[in-house]
Symmetry: C2
Subunit: 366 residues, 2 copies
């Protein structure tokens, strides 16, 4: 057991109250000498404050709950990474709960987190409805990050998908492509809608007419990309470039093109979206838009801590202190140009930083 504040105070020859004040960053006056003595003593004895006891008194646990739709999503580890890195700066920790897309589990999780009197909640890729009744009544701040589907609720952080699509189309146009096919995701998805918008908008800006013949929808899988590309190849006037709304469909498109005896990017350029691992491992390596997951995580953490601050500043009295209905924060992605669009690029397969092997290679050997 760690030693208690009382014991520490005892050996320091002071009362618990002074010991407490010496350790805390309280502005309460305490003799400089005494403080130093207590501090060094605490160090020596390895005193660790009991956060449960403290939390009990202060109603602050320095803990944020993370409710994940699925920890196995390719994005969530990056989002968590961003969240935690930001929280760490303010000495917050996070307890993470994975719901596996089960709404019952999700709602249960909220209660469990309240039971642990966490200070706030971040929903990651959640399906939870906009406002959560219990959280409102408990007056806890909560934030959504990377919601994939439906309406983007208040207090949430998402990707500027429209901007990402714009980057892609601008890139292709700069490479002299004028007939750019688009394999979109299914309708109803935030990403599909926004990316289509960006696609159309950019074409229009360059006075390229929108042609519904070269716009198809797929269910996000490799097969869908393959089939869509097959269709494009049969057109009398076939596209010179294909933009797929995610990397998997882009991969499928590349396979279809190669199976037809054509080359990527020489005959048809292909661009994906997401920058998943496969984008750097495919042949040719895939031009894509990197999802700003880390940055989204950071932004979400920042948002929830802000809400906490303002709520506390105002005395935390009113239930909707931090329910300022603000616009979603949109984080822009980044175009990663690789071989599938630009024949001058010659990467050897470049793992991303989060690729474990690369990352292990950088550290000391036994």
């Amino acid at each position: 057991m760690p030693i208690t504040l009382e014991q520490l105070a005892q050996v320091a020859g002071v009362s618990v109250s002074t010991a407490s004040r010496a350790l805390g960053k309280s502005n309460h006056a305490v003799n400089a000498e005494t403080r130093k003595r207590i501090l060094t003593l605490a160090e020596q004895l390895g005193y660790r404050p009991n956060l449960m006891a403290r939390g009990l008194k202060t109603e602050r646990t320095y803990t944020i709950g993370l409710i994940l739709d699925s920890i196995l999503s390719p994005f969530s580890p990056h989002i968590i990474h961003g969240i935690q890195d930001h929280l760490k700066e303010f000495n917050y920790f996070s307890i993470v709960i994975n719901t596996d897309s089960n709404p019952e589990v999700e709602s249960h999780a909220v209660y469990d987190l309240i039971s642990r009197s966490i200070d706030g909640i971040i929903f990651v890729e959640s399906w939870m409805p906009d406002a959560h009744p219990i959280l409102d009544v408990e007056n806890k701040p909560y934030v959504f990050v990377h919601r994939l589907f439906g309406r983007i609720p208040h207090n949430s952080v998402c990707v500027d998908e429209q901007h990402g699509a714009r980057l892609v189309v601008e890139h292709l146009i700069a490479l002299e492509h004028h007939r750019i096919a688009f394999i979109n995701g299914l309708p109803g998805w935030y990403a599909s809608e926004q990316r289509l918008l960006g696609y159309r908008e950019t074409l229009a800006a360059h006075e390229i007419p929108f042609d519904s013949e070269i716009v198809l929808e797929g269910d996000w899988g490799v097969q869908d990309g393959y089939r869509a590309a097959e269709q494009f190849l049969q057109l009398s006037e076939r596209p010179t470039a294909i933009f797929a709304a995610n990397d998997l469909m882009a991969l499928g498109a590349m396979y279809a093109i190669q199976d037809a005896g054509l080359g990527v990017p020489d005959d048809i350029a292909v661009v994906g979206y997401d920058d998943r691992d496969i984008a750097s491992f495919a042949r040719p390596t895939l031009t894509t838009v990197r999802m700003p997951c880390y940055e989204m995580g950071q932004a979400a953490a920042k948002l929830v801590l802000n809400m906490l601050d303002t709520s506390r500043a105002s005395g935390g009295a009113s239930a909707d202190d931090f329910l300022q209905t603000q616009e979603p924060i949109k984080i822009p992605g980044e175009l990663i140009v690789r071989e599938s669009s630009d024949r001058t690029k010659r990467h050897w397969v470049q793992p991303r930083s989060h690729n474990m092997l690369m990352h292990l290679m950088n550290r000391r050997r036994p």
Copy 2:
């Protein structure tokens, strides 16, 4: 704020003690009728016990600390998944800390977790030395899971790598391959050593002589696999199959073979290890050994809870109650046969269950 036990007791017209006893699964006698009344009342009023207060009294927080070497490793999400699913059954939650391979952060994390009086710690893919002094003195159980490097410490869960390699070689031999090259990882890695052992052992069991000419080492990257395969192809008597110690090197090997104008698996079969996403997205899809990450996580969670139980049963007196120096628990992987070794297999790219897109496809649409 959730209502407190005292308030609940008040409206129920009983004392806090009886209310507490009615709710807890304590074997202490309490009138059946009263208990029911309290229980329904608690339900109605949405009573949630304050776990901080409870923990303060009981020295039990129902929280396990997870210290990750890197949350971005391709394995850790699966390991966490397994851990949490097991913990959930016993109402345990976990607070996870990502160290990004920084030993200082790691050691700091231990102190922070102790401050939060967690019940135990699981080190995931950690580099932390075998025994952790602070944890021993604090008498908290801790467990290692999927340590990648060096000696496997006590109380740890790892992969039965030798068995995995055996599966691969047996599979290739069953397919009439007698000259099986091996691209191993770097020495010093637990995986490299064990997989080599499995490789040699299985060859020996089938009376195939070990030929060092067809065994190379790589640094786990795609390039390494590519170069190794190039070397094999130049041999006068070239191998008919290549076993690479991970999927990335296997992918590189396939690329080299294809660049040489040969076919996989028709000219040379290729097998990888890990079953990362790319294994199912590559063309041909890659035969590989699935890492039993989920199962390892479960085992680790089970182990740490067991240690907790035995420690409590024995009164938690002695510091090494649960430091029973036991052998590491080895979890076997599973061979996944795909196109790169077996020409009869015809998958369309089959995402694994943890592939987000597959997983999203299975749920309701808006």
